[in-house]
Amino acid sequence: MLHFTIRRLVLAVPTLLFISLVIFLLLDLAPGDPMASIPLTVPPEVKEKMREALGLGEPVHIRFLNWLYQFFVVEPQVAFDHIFGTDFAEGKQRIISFQSRSPVMSVVAERMPQTLWVVGLSYIFATLIAVPIGIISAYRQYSWFDQLGTFVSMVGFSIPTFFSGVLLIVIFSVTLGWFPSIYDTTHEITDWPSFWFQVRQMAMPVFVLTLYNAAQVSRFMRASMLDNLNQDYVRTARAKGLSERVVVLMHVLRNSMIPVVTVIALGVPNIFGGAIITEQVFQVNGLGQMLITAIYASDAPMVQTLTFIFAVLIVLFNLIADIIYGMLDPRIRYD
């Protein structure tokens, strides 16, 4: 297993380098100008000077190599300095956002908490809810519980978050006044009332995202359980006299988890991608909102860095999913 992991990690390096090149070229070839959002009252000569100050005058390969150096050498050094108080990165150029002229990584660090709180928490909730629902729905197929579960997941699946989000705001913020419609990212939890405020402001976005994610996972779980419940080994287990509890939760569940683990693991990078629409609706201003504003503003360094981080996470979680397979099913061996 260790061999396998190391081999996969080594193989990931060229893959990621290639991905970074493709992202870079795509962004470079895409039409769009970081100066386009500046009012027309600013004359073109001035815009040209501003473009030069952003380093857009350099040829493509120089800019790409610069970015690689900054991403793989300077930024880790900055992080290292930050933790150990050293000064390796002193005076070195970091990856700078075109919009704010501030280091991209510090913006990422600033945005991470609200994204993890809201999107991460909703993902955990969704998984915790969806797995039991999937199991019960499959075990009691066509019961009222199964019908209800199917209905709720269809609703969650088919109603877009920009609709359910606004609907919740209209009901709970405008009419009832229970929850704030705008997320306060500066809020700090210091005592019980401030914790309660955090719960209230997270309630709606977390609910919207939980419904959406749970719908997906519970359907997968149900389908996978149904596949396994009719297998011969289940009859054997029952014939041996094992209790239903052991049959379902030990035998069937373990086998059914294999495809579901892939779905769950590959969904984790999406947490870091934020939830573009939901973040926009509730003004959570996390990583998703940052990505979309960067795209609109043609902020290439920021889009490049963020998409590349997602690429790294996707490769990583693919590997993690593969390793978990091996744990769930001893027959799967990679060596």
């Binding site: 704010s100 600033e110 419609s181």
Partner: protein, 571 residues
Amino acid sequence: MKLKTALMGTVLGTVAALSMAPAAFAERGADGHVNIIYYQAPSTMNPYLSGGTKELESASLVLEPLARYDETGAMVPFLAESVPTVENGGVSEDLMTITWKLKDGLMWSDGTPFTSEDVKFTWEYCTSEGGGCSQSEKYNDVVSVETPDDLTVIVTFGVPKPFPYGPFVGAQAPIVQKAQFADCTGEAMASCTDQNFAPIGTGPFVVDEFKTNDVVSLSANTNYRDPMKPAFATATLKGGGDAQSAARAVLETGEFDYAWNTQVAPDLLEAMLAKGQGQLVNSFGTLVERIMVNLTDPDPALGDERATAAHPHPFLSDIAVRKALSMAIDRALLTEIGYGDAGRPTCNVLPAPEIYKSTANDACLTQDIEGAKAVLEEAGWVDSDGDGIREKDGVKLSLLFQSSTNAIRQDFQAIIKQWWEEIGVETELRNIDASVFFGGDAGSPDTFQKFYADVEMYANNFDGTDPEAYMANWECKQAPRPETQWQGNNMPRFCSEEYDALVAEMAKTGDINERAEMAKAMNDMLMQEYVIIPLVDRGRLSAHANSLGGVILNTWDSELWNAADWYRIKE
């Protein structure tokens, strides 16, 4: 007698003060917290690094210029004692120098004195090589800034400046602190993140925390020049979402006190207002949604000479066609559909300030489809083959109408297309992503400067109140063409010696009334040639809570220009 007069004076003064400013009795910070929402979040607090409105306006809470424009467009001194003019001797007779006197005893928010050195440094900062200062145009032609003493600034220009209020005036050109930014000139401008995110200013508020593209937390400046102001102890400027959610947060849920640019469908706003939490404020500036008419031929077959003055347009070079296109449009209906209270129909490309506003073209306010048809008939454009499209000498009136991607613009395009087809002009529509259309990339065929179409629609305005530079946009030499790398603002490629002469004369004239006459004449020339078809004078529409007092919406400067005077209305 003397004593009596003095006493009376005091009494009257007190009475005046009482009735004038209810907030003046509150102490600084007595009114707690104010919440402001900008649906486009500011990305930096340094206006010299971004030309965007959201950054200029949020920075205006902290940084101040020597003088600002008020809601009528008049200049009011902020950091300066008074506004220098030729009459008061502040501007030299030859219009080459302007002398600003600063208010005495001003402090930066960090408690250090504000001096003329800071003003001089601001000029050096913005014009330093390699910095890419977005407002460097404001400092055009400045050859020196002298500081004979701590309170005097003498700005010398290289050419006569009839309107010498570019440098250090308005939200675009505020003063930054020398001590803070001394190491941030030139290429270092961008890397000074801490300074750019939390500049030290003289304004009513101080940045406590800045989260880029998200939120700014501010608190009252303890060294602000008026000891009673600002009334609010802290302020939050939140960004993100869209115009509708911003309007909702003020008008429906009451979470926020002020929302910037609540440009939402008029019927939705109506429903939100019914909640009774807040109100809308509007004000008009110089922003005009217009259609530009291409006087050159955009035919792809022309290769490098496409859309250049070498080939006049096959039918738009005929004034009758241009006139008919303008007559067929119902501007009042467009305004109602697209902008509601935030717009009004206009027949001028220069709609304001009042003294520059021409009334010579107001006939365009009424739609005249029949008249437009008659104009075309008379000029020989007839539909001879019965396909509904007029033609003459084998040239069909068939045009390509482009604009940037934007819901309101696409509505406008569709409606205008209908009217034009009614008068026998075939219209094909096209929309281009704003970042490409306005991007100015000389390599792209889709920019508004290249204008590879017959007509195009967008909005433009000018900073401040002086239209000299704006009207100079339509000089011959401003036409975008290969020699200028397709830069320039004269999209119609309009070229008239008479017009150029007026531009040159205006640049030499100091008298405000004569300048107004010239600007009007230029506006009328463009309108009567129908090279620009103005549609809607677009104002600003913002919302504030009923409990927020002192809001005066200003389109000539930052909307937050008088945030120091805002206060909480007590029940």
